[in-house]
């Protein structure tokens, strides 16, 4: 090894660390480039041989397949592009609903596992152990089978609440008949949310300035309920409901949640909740007991201790792994393809089968999910910066 300046001249260039690093990198880059070139040229020959078109031209072509459920207008005469958008929207739908439900359920179970009640904590632990150790795909199959095997046909529909029917074709429930009043109510609700936010801000500022407290929670709740209610009665108080009715072999009217969606949602929520429960438990346990004692000793009530001291600190530990679990839920929603829910992977899979353009199809799949995860990690970075401990 060269230890002083003079011996540097006697070092061969291949013994120089920097030269070697450059060499290694050139070799690696060349290898990767060659591999890429080789694979792409193979793809081109193969595609030419099987006379498969390349490029994304197929997006403009007619899809010619039906999609079971869709948030936007779609028929088989629409383009592949529109079909793929339907798929993305379906993925987003099940992921967003799933994220909300699983966060709530997971938090409840996580708190349960820490309960001082032996029965509750054991039940919580048993839940976590059970659902974590069974593949989510198996759970999806299980719940889907439950729907079409256990639940009766439309003629013998289960009717737990008047107007709601559970059958092997999903859950049918009544929705209010269309009326302009509902639009106004929606607007009123948004307005109420903005007002409540402003009141909260004002109340906090006033408390910081003068120490006086304002019952912001109760006032806010009243505004949130009363403002839409007032709009409803002012715009004619419509009470017409669109109730599902048995006509022929199936229900007409109302809204239907398909068994595929329900099974996917239930499976994803129950599975992810077991992981979130563990994260929440670890988060709460990470706050030392001294924090609670200190907060109590300055005279905070137990509720305030939780809200002002424990929770903000526990969130710092909880949120990063929680976000990655929610992202996992989104990625796992691609298992929809196994039970026939038309999510993005299913639509893209059908597209690949029809056009034969596997490379473009798989690339699209990866692109969509990569976008989701990039957005998630952007959120996480923003959040981590926001709540990072400010150090001197």
């Amino acid at each position: 090894m060269a230890s002083d300046q003079n011996s540097n001249s006697r070092t061969y260039f291949w013994n120089d660390q920097k030269t070697r690093a450059v060499l290694y990198q050139i070799v690696t880059a060349a290898f990767v480039a060659f591999l890429g070139y080789y694979l792409i040229s193979n793809v081109q020959t193969n595609m030419a041989k099987q006379s498969i078109a390349s490029g994304f031209g197929f997006i403009e072509k007619e899809a010619a397949f039906e999609i079971g459920e869709s948030l936007i207008e779609y028929s088989a005469a629409d383009t592949y592009g529109r079909a793929l958008v339907v798929g993305v929207l379906n993925t987003l739908k099940v992921s967003l609903v799933g994220m909300i439900l699983t966060t709530i359920l997971g938090t409840i179970i996580g708190v349960c596992t820490l309960s001082s009640n032996w029965l509750i904590s054991k039940l919580g632990t048993a839940y976590v152990e059970l659902f974590q150790n069974i593949p989510v795909l198996l759970q999806l199959f299980f719940f889907y089978a439950l729907f079409y095997e256990i639940f009766p046909g439309p003629r013998q529909a289960l009717n737990p609440v008047p107007g709601v029917f559970i059958t092997n074709r999903g859950v049918d429930f009544p929705v209010p008949a269309p009326d302009p009043a509902w639009t106004w109510m929606g607007l009123a609700f948004v307005a109420a949310c903005i007002i409540v936010w402003l009141i909260n801000r004002w109340a906090r500022k006033r408390q910081e300035r003068s120490g006086q407290q304002f019952p912001a929670f109760w006032v806010g709740l009243a505004i949130l309920i009363l403002l839409p209610a007032l709009t409803w009665s002012l715009s004619g108080a419509p009470t017409q409901m669109d109730v599902p009715e048995l006509k022929g072999f199936n229900f007409q009217g109302g809204r239907n949640i398909s068994p595929e969606f329900s099974a996917l949602l239930i499976g994803l929520v129950l599975y992810t909740a077991s992981f979130i429960a563990q994260i929440v438990r670890a988060g709460i346990q990470s706050i030392s007991h001294g924090q609670t004692e200190a907060a109590m000793s300055i005279g905070l009530k137990p509720g305030m201790v939780l809200k002002l001291v424990i929770f903000p600190q526990a969130l710092r530990v909880i949120v990063p792994p929680l976000t990655s679990q929610l992202l996992n839920l989104t990625k796992n929603s691609s298992l929809a393809v196994a039970i026939g829910y038309p999510d993005f992977v299913q639509v893209a899979g059908t597209t690949i089968n029809q056009t034969g353009q596997a490379v473009e199809g798989v690339a699209l799949m990866m692109l969509v999910y990569l976008t989701f995860s990039l957005l998630t990690s952007a959120f996480m970075n923003w959040y981590n910066k926001k709540i990072a401990i400010v150090e001197r």
């Binding site: 793809v43 001082s116 032996w118 029965l119 150790n133 795909l137 198996l138 439950l146 095997e149 796992n332």
Partner: protein, 370 residues
């Protein structure tokens, strides 16, 4: 309260019976407060309603060794769906007369795993034993030597396929993951960025897209006339996928290492490979054993996804039993059985990781005392 004055026979006075024993335990653990009491009563009520019904369904009214027709008249669970189809369920399309071979291979695998669970036994001899065991298992599965009938790998299915995919998935993804982690820590910009792109891209997409890639896209990548069979392609997808997750875990271990370790190793004159092999990796990999086992458990569970590309792992053999007219309608029972198999495997892995975690903690304390 008789404040400071001590009663005459303090040690003879027993605590009140409501504080110790069964009653005390019940009071402290089930009825400590209003909410807790209500919760206990609600939960107990629910259990009393559900449990007897479940036991009635699962055991008392159940059919165990009947045909599918007889099962349909039984009130309770139809476990016959498993008992009558157990060989197809476990071994799938493996030739019926040769099914002792995968069974023996699985027994060897499990025995080897149980024997090598204690890492104090890890030495060169065990390594050779593993090589030999792998060779025997491969021979048993594939055949073609010593008078064993050759069996195409397309016929491998059921539990052996699940174990094969997960075992080799884990085995091969581990070194690849370690290499990726080292590449990500590297000071060479091109290697580092290649590793970062690979890891982040794989972690950003679901395993299904990788499996789709292996089943529909990969054949296009191969030169004409070359085909790789489906099991191997799925295996490759699982390995490439798991490696990215292992890499992130290992990177955590590398970052947790004290910088002094690197400096000390360099000052001894060790080169990069010696430093990594002898100083850094043995310590870093030990720190991350618990999260690694977590990754391995999910890799094991994720092998079930090969159902989607129509490979017959144990979940898919179950599904094809359920699609026979004789056995339709008994999915609950069949899926419960499969769930139990997965549960036992995953649970024992996580127990193992917990035990190692404890062992590591003890060692840590020992070091501090010294």
């Amino acid at each position: 309260m008789n404040d400071l004055s001590k009663p005459a026979h303090a040690d003879e006075i027993k605590p009140p019976s409501t504080e110790v024993g069964v009653i005390g335990w019940v009071r402290h653990n089930l009825f400590n407060g209003v909410f807790s009491s209500i919760a206990t009563i609600v939960v107990l009520g629910g259990l009393i309603k559900v449990l007897p019904n479940f036991i009635q369904w699962a055991f008392i009214d159940a059919a165990w060794f009947t045909s599918g027709q007889q099962c349909k008249e039984v009130e309770g669970a139809c476990w016959s769906v498993i008992t009558q189809n157990i060989r197809f369920n476990i071994f799938g399309y493996y030739p019926y007369a040769e099914q002792w071979r995968p069974l023996l291979a699985m027994i060897i695998l499990i025995a080897m795993l149980i024997y090598s669970r204690d890492w104090n036994k890890w030495n060169k001899r065990l390594g050779y034993a593993w090589l030999f065991a792998l060779f025997v298992m491969g021979l048993l599965m594939k055949g073609g030597l010593f008078g064993l009938v050759p069996v195409e790998s397309t016929k491998w299915s059921g539990l052996p396929l699940t174990l094969l995919l997960s075992f080799f998935g884990i085995l091969a993804s581990y070194p690849l993951g370690v290499m990726l982690a080292l590449g990500r820590q590297s000071r060479m910009p091109i290697i580092k960025s290649l590793c970062v792109v690979y890891i982040e891209m794989i972690r950003g997409v679901p395993l299904i897209t990788m499996l789709f890639m292996s089943s529909v896209m990969f054949p296009l990548f191969l030169p004409e006339g070359v085909t790789i069979d489906k099991v191997l392609r799925a295996q490759a997808a699982i390995i490439l996928f798991t490696a990215a997750y292992i890499a992130e875990v290992v990177r955590g271990g590398l970052q947790a290492m004290d910088k002094g370790q690197y400096e000390a190793a360099e000052s001894l004159g060790l080169n990069y490979f010696q430093m990594m092999r002898m100083i850094i990796l043995p310590q870093a990999l030990k720190i991350v054993i618990p999260p690694t086992v977590g990754i391995l458990i999910s890799a094991f569970k994720d092998t079930s996804l090969v159902v989607i590309i129509a490979l017959y792992d144990i979940l898919n053999t179950t599904k094809s039993i359920l699609s026979e007219p004789e056995w339709t309608g008994f999915s609950t029972e069949a899926y419960i059985f499969i769930a139990m198999i997965y549960y036992i495997c995953c649970f024992s892995m996580s127990q193992y990781s917990r035990r190692i975690e404890k062992e590591l903690e003890y060692k840590h304390i020992d070091n501090d005392d010294r």
